[in-house]
Amino acid sequence: MTKPTNFPRRTLLKLLPAAGLLAACGKSSKTRLALNWKPDPEFGGFYAADFAKHGLDVELLPGGSGTPTVQMIGAGSAEFGIIQADELLLARSRGNDVVALFAAFQSCPTGIMAHASRKLESIGDVLRNGTLAMESGLPFARLLEKKFGFDHVKIVPSPGGDLTAFLHDENFAQQCFITAEPLQARRKGVDVKVFPVSDIGYNPYTTVVATSRALLQKNPEMVKNMVAAVREGWAAYLQDPTATNQKMHALNPSMELPSYTEIAQAQKPLIGASPLGKMTAERWDALAAQLKELGDIPKTLPASDCFVDL
């Protein structure tokens, strides 16, 4: 008689950890916006946004190197996320139905920086010799390979914003955010030359707010409010980033306050569009055609599926 009564209790005890895990996974009432990096000026407009005004309770989730925001949106572990346009096309071609809503950066801030002392004149020159550190899985890297070939340059993994190797070796060039690492390198006393990847005609929308098709269909009003809040946030940040920079610096003190000010200023030319965040079908089509040619996606995707204009 003891056995049947004991059994369920033991089973229950064994299941407890699993139950705890489930509880931890339970949905928070907040709307989550997953960032793909730590708080920094690239996200200024999101930190400046007054979500409450639009009836939203938004939690910004800082990320790190390789935070899979596009998968998080698709899997529902964040309602909104920051992605790059090419990531979205890749995700869509693999069946992850994610939709772009607002493109903060109209021009892609990805670039390659090299020591100015090498007197290089174009991105092609960077590939003539020395070492280039970059994420070779990214489409722009393969576009570079296709255009110039990697026969004379050694390609190594990107150190993710770390400058140690760059400062140590004059013939070392690396992938960068044109608004961030070059400023840091100059502060360390090294003069650099920066080549944006848009020079070779690769210019995906960057720092794009995206959501899942499911959420867009279920709650279009909330998505609309989100876009409105973000648009106002960016307008406010462009006008005066001081208070927001202080707020972000408190959250991410690893970067000094003057750097926030400097980067906020440097990124301004990359942002402008009217209205802020606007995207066009032509640019989505162009990017899809580029990715198809590179073999990243099996067939081009209609722009109308990729973004909505709210």
Binding site: Q71, L90, A165
Partner: protein, 253 residues
């Protein structure tokens, strides 16, 4: 051979069960294929990208094995040295613990500058990550020699080195081998992390596949890495059998 096969059967059952479960969950649409690729897609990727994947596996194997061999040699030597006196132990053991805690990613830029991109960084990373369990287990094994036997040795006037090589070290072998088993798995992880920064082998494959959202390829590489870990584990078990079979209970049935 027959016994090896018979041993493999119980282990194959959960593998098959999990494989079938994931496959059906994905096919039924419960789990998204872009999040968890179905095993069939992973196997297809392994077949289609075989030349690339197996070349990468060979590089990772070489890096991991070299790092592991260095860990085994230096780890045992360091532990023997540490066991020689209490003062030496107190002076240096804390620094051995350093190896266990060092976050490889944090010192990655230094590794690259010291060892350059490529194999040497990979070996260094595998070595750093895997040496500590060898030191800790060897040392603990040597220090827990049976006191009665130790007394017997000193009663017969055995020298220090005779006591070490004829008593303490052989008695520590089971623990040393346990240390090596742990180190084997860690060396594989260390090698792959080293490849993230050093840029070759399975680590580089995972890195590139991840940016391209090719989860099938990521999993294919992970699967190959775990086979490498298993192979290394098997190798150490074989060694353990050879060394301990004659006298230690753990290998006698």
């Amino acid at each position: 051979m027959r016994t090896a096969l018979r041993k493999a059967v119980p282990a194959a059952i959960p593998f098959l069960a999990i494989t079938i479960a994931i496959e059906s969950l994905v096919r039924a649409g419960w789990v998204k294929a872009w999040l968890v690729p179905p095993p069939s897609a992973i196997f297809q990727t392994i077949v289609r990208d075989a030349p690339e994947l197996f070349r990468a596996l060979a590089m990772t194997s070489f890096g991991a094995l070299t790092g592991f061999a260095l860990s085994a040699a230096f780890g045992i030597a360091i532990a023997v040295y540490l066991s020689s006196s209490r003062a030496i132990q107190q002076a240096f053991y804390p620094y051995a613990i350093f190896f266990q805690t060092v976050p490889i990613i944090a010192i990655a830029p230094l590794l690259v500058i010291w060892f350059g991109y490529g194999l040497r960084t990979v070996v260094a990373s595998a070595f750093i990550v895997s040496i500590f369990p060898v030191i800790a287990n060897t040392l603990s094994g040597i220090l827990s020699t049976d006191r009665a036997l130790r007394d017997l040795f000193s009663l017969y006037g055995a020298s220090r080195s005779a006591t070490l090589w004829k008593l303490s070290f052989p008695a520590a072998l089971p623990q040393i081998l346990t240390g090596l088993r742990i180190a084997g798995g860690l060396a594989v992880i260390g090698a792959i992390v080293g490849e993230f920064i050093g840029g070759q082998g399975l680590g580089a494959v995972v890195d590139v596949a991840r940016t391209q959202q090719r989860t099938d390829k990521v999993f294919a590489a992970v699967l190959l890495a775990s086979f490498l870990g298993l192979a290394l584990f098997g190798l150490i078990n074989l060694l353990s059998r050879v060394v301990l079979q004659r006298w230690h209970a753990s290998e006698q049935n």
